[in-house]
Symmetry: C3
Subunit: 381 residues, 3 copies
């Protein structure tokens, strides 16, 4: 593999520090197309999601893993996928990704996808859990609490739920936006807000935390818990108001959280990844990745990865796929990252700016070592 | 042309879905320089607008169309232009652009430039109209209305004015900013706002709609009209507050307009084109182009076009020149787009990411087919 | 040098229009690492600031100037630095930078670094001063004033302090953010605000101007002074709220200042440099550079420089290093800019977009001539 893989980037046992499970069941064309976009709308009849960077990347890179030539038409690809069956497709795509360790975030439609244990079984590599704060809080309400008891019950549930977890995650970007008061709310405020939430849940039959006081309480309780804390930033599905998802809005919280020593991990960040790089340079507690954006920019992911290698010290950049559902996304997350890093670093070396040794070292740091250090994963197997 | 034009990009009969007329008269150096910048200030004596990307692109690419070698000095170029005369210059530059269909927006200083019929005559290709909402509303006031009658008169005027139009356009970005309440205003609010406007017009002698209630009313009446609706976004002349022209600010309106099925076309978008690509991915009713930014970034337009090919499905990206005035801008809009697409797509193919067939298909979609579908132009001649 | 330096970019006697002094004393490893980042936090034990773009650039480009092979390890580099001593290191790095004229901003920890006269002596090239408005105001308060006398004393001090200066500088971005009322405050407001400031200085023992009324007063007094006025924009240390440092926020001030004819120079601008390019196109009084961002993006500075060559006329773009402290930063500012310009312009020429003559002319404009014109430096020696 040496000619294919300068600086041994192809051999790095990646730590995918933010990923979700693969779907266990076979997918219809409609289901598949709806899972290869961040849109949550039906695909209009006059287009196909295969006509996109991620669609072309699937046809180019996943087809050979399923035994087809590159660039088949979508029908041929999906027919082959069905022929092999979801289990074999998952096995092939996950194994070929070369991912060495999965940190699986389980808070989003977790019952439709493989849980960490099954991910580990299919991929043949360890998989640990990252726990979503909002999901824990919503379960506390679903299982029954009063307003005054909410804070204590949430704390107990979070400690219990995260006993073996490697990290926590917040989706405050989805539920409110990052433009929120960064201060830890007072207990009385939390109780009041919990009361409002319980009455609303009663009235609507829906348990969804979006009150900024409660979201702040979740985050601060998460910081108390002491595990690395992931933030959804930037690009995602249309539930997110992208205008309010710029990581620069987190400045106040970052500074307040700094004495805790808890690592804050900014996920995805596209199209604000340069802003994330700034934060990662100036604040010791900030890290970031360009996860989701790599998959969805496909042939253009080289540019996105290049832009992530500007201000941030190399010890502060991580790899993730943020894949959810089709194992194509897990596979591409790793493959496109490796290709992008290879091209970008080979460019630095060819330009006479970096040494080959530096390129190999930085790739290993970003691909695995930084995550191993932050999440305490020990040495690679 | 095959060696010059991989993927037949040179032969695509482009649909320029947002363009203005060419100037019919000869231009002095001062006039010419003031028309090749988005600045509306006089050109300072210590500089020339030819010392810019668009200036260099004119000297490089338009000079040969006028029978000169590339890169003449500005004096030589303008002398040749004068020698040929505006009519011949227009004829040559428009014909050589290879644009197959013009959608001409007539709302800005329309009496100084060719109207759609004359554009069609000079270029020898069909030209249809796009009607500017604000211009229609201002004419209603100029021709006389009372506040209570404004809404009905505007509706009648818009329907009449757009009988043969292919689309509508709003410049709410110029008149207020995109950060406005997205809701359709109530009739009483519209009447009140119309009253304020009429009194102000009376007092100032100027008829200019910039009240956010009225601007929202125009947009919603435009949506009722049912034609594709273009939005000025981002880069433009200094009348625009660029900080309030980020397309992400349109999120609320996009969601409210979604049930109407009206296509919303985000124009130019520079430097927010990645944000536009996000909106075009997640919302079925959103499309975008990087029109104006291609001309004004000249040799750098390859990068801008590349950045436009990230998140959006390829069925949601269009071509436009947004040229106004000198036919150099119409010519360059097409030429620079073809060059940029050729380079970007050839890069994807050379990298082994796309097939040649995919490259040819996407170029044809973005250059013509998407616009034909959205505006109902039928098959290309 | 001709094969190394197409378009004679290597030979341009650069005007570094915004720079600070070099440190005169030897630096420990800790001190050195803390000076090659914009972070003002201690370097965490698990990382080194050498593992960054600027760190790699130092090892690559400064090592040979100190007589080492490129890419030594940090220990070797710093040992050699100590062996040579600060004076020799400064002399070598400044001379090899080929900078022809320094405009030295003296307002930040000026007692720790070389002043303009000593910079000129070490580098063997002229060095003039740029005076920081906020530093002058703070000295007025330190030296004693009452509220009613503040405005007059500040005016007198500014005129006195800037008698031989080439320009002024404001750090309103650090002290408040660029989102401030652009209007000149009334005298009574200034007196009131000065009173508040004096009482606060009395109470806290700290003299730091951050009241928006006073900051506006400083800026408008600076405009009255009539020298070119530099604005810190965008990227800097974590004192800056980057979210409030977008140059687009200056639109109101730019328009109000336009009649004065005072050139406004937007410094650094990363990651908002495209926004700065827009302002420089549409407003005759706006100029910009990408100074600080070039050093800190190292191997990626080619991309940053390329992005700065989009909308702005070439007469409106300047060069600066914004170096402070280690002379490595002065050296790299020049070297990386020359390399980036060479690559970007060679790309335009190779693509057939620009002539070689155009490339040489634009490089000379951006590197020196524009600054000579704006600051009235006369012809290059």
């Amino acid at each position: 593999m040496s000619t294919e893989s300068p600086y041994a980037i192809g051999e790095i046992p990646l730590v995918d520090h933010h990923v979700h499970g693969a779907t266990a069941h076979d997918l219809s064309r409609t289901e598949f197309e709806e899972l290869i976009t961040e849109s949550n709308r039906p695909v209009p009849g006059w287009m196909t999601q295969f006509d996109s960077q991620v669609g072309f990347a699937i046809l180019r890179h996943c087809a050979p893993v399923l035994g087809l030539d590159p660039h088949p038409d979508p029908e041929t690809y999906l027919a082959r996928r069905t022929e092999l069956g979801a289990e074999e497709v998952n096995r092939r795509l996950l194994a070929a990704s070369g991912i060495g360790h999965f940190l699986v975030e389980t808070g989003y439609r977790g019952d439709e996808i493989l849980d960490p244990a099954r991910m580990a079984a299919v991929a043949g590599r360890p998989a640990d859990e990252v726990v979503r704060l909002e999901a824990v809080a919503e379960r506390v309400v679903t299982e029954g609490t009063d307003a005054a008891g909410f804070a204590a019950r949430f704390e107990a549930a979070l400690w219990e739920r995260s006993r073996a977890a490697r990290g926590l995650k917040t989706i405050v970007a989805y539920r409110h936006g990052l433009d929120l008061d960064p201060a830890r709310p007072a207990p009385a405020e939390v109780t009041q807000a919990a009361g409002r939430w319980l009455r609303e849940a009663e009235r609507t039959g829906t348990v969804r935390v979006d009150d900024p006081v409660l979201l702040r309480h979740l985050i601060w309780t998460g910081i108390d818990r002491g595990l690395p804390l992931q933030f959804h930033i930037g690009y995602g599905d249309p539930d997110v108001d992208l205008h309010r998802s710029d990581p620069l809005l987190l400045r106040g919280l970052i500074e307040l959280a700094e004495p805790s020593g808890v690592p804050l991990l900014l996920l995805h960040c596209y199209p604000f990844h340069r802003n994330a790089g700034f934060l990662a340079q100036v604040y010791p507690n900030v890290y970031f990745d360009v996860g989701l954006g790599v998959n969805y920019t496909g042939a253009r992911s080289v540019a996105v990865v290049a832009e992530s290698l500007e201000l941030a010290p190399f010890a502060k950049i991580l790899f993730s796929s943020d894949a959810w559902g089709p194992a194509e996304l897990h596979h591409l997350g790793a493959l496109l990252w490796r290709r992008a890093m290879t091209r970008v670093l080979a460019g630095f070396v060819a330009d006479g700016e970096w040494s080959e040794k530096q390129a190999a070292r930085v790739a290993a740091m970003v691909g695995a070592e930084n995550a191993r250090r932050v999440y305490g994963l020990g040495e690679s197997a």
